[in-house]
Amino acid sequence: MSTSGDARLPAPPATVAVWDLPLRLCHWALAASVLVAWFSANVDDAVHEISGYVALSLVAFRILWGFVGPRYARFRDFVPTPRVLLRYLSDLAQGRTTLYLGHNPAGAAMTVLLLVLLAIATITGWMQLTRRFFGVTWVEMVHTYSSNLVLVLAIVHVLGVLLMCWLQKENLVPAMITGRKRAASEHKEDG
């Protein structure tokens, strides 16, 4: 915001790099391809199919990145145990949150859930274009239900981000653009 070096403004808070560039590009490209796929369904088959293949590739990349990517991208770093997740959610219900630099347990659970459902939705979409599964009703049904669930979860994901922004007084959207979040010390001071 301030480029004038106004002495009255406090120094910008220290930030640390959290989300790596491939992860961020993957995130926004996936968001875009899911939107395009959603709006092109039953409207424009070519656009729907291409956006579906793009989404499938991005999901495959993200899963791979969850094993070989940098620290905050790794599943091992963020996938919570059910116990940790439940405690976090019950704290959250009372408006209490612990600060995490990477994914918090709820965000982590949403990430995994979205990736699994996106994998199901894109693979069943692809299957319908194969000779083996063309016109097979259960494939079509799984595709429809998983795709609808992806959209519902994506909306919950956005609402969850907004809730976190509000509870923790940190705008998380720029973090997914620049990759940087406030340093842990800043977090604690805000408490």
Binding site: L35, F39, V43, D44, D45, V47, L129, R131, F134
Partner: protein, 90 residues
């Protein structure tokens, strides 16, 4: 970023509106005068397709068929006279 989102959303709606390719209109006759869907499936089978399933799409019977070469098609039949109105290769 905001500009990119605007452009993206606009493109989505443009593509959704301008390129609509769903084939839906085969007849204006009331449903009471339609033949059963199995008649459309039989027509596709007779034309050499392996029929996977059929459904009502607008005022058409849409039959999912695989031809002798293994190519995938959606065949749209007029439900009254079973005329093939549209063939969409997948």
């Amino acid at each position: 970023m905001r500009a990119a989102i605007c452009i993206g959303v606009t493109m989505v709606f443009m593509s959704a509106g301008a390129l609509a390719d769903g084939f839906k209109n085969c007849t204006k006759e009331p449903k009471a005068s339609w033949q059963p869907a199995t008649a459309a499936e039989a027509a596709a089978t007779a034309a050499g397709y392996e029929v996977r399933k059929s459904k009502v799409e607008g005022s058409c019977y849409e039959v999912y068929g695989v031809n002798k070469q293994g190519k995938l098609f959606e065949l749209f039949y007029n439900p009254v006279d079973l005329k093939l109105m549209h063939t969409k290769a997948k």
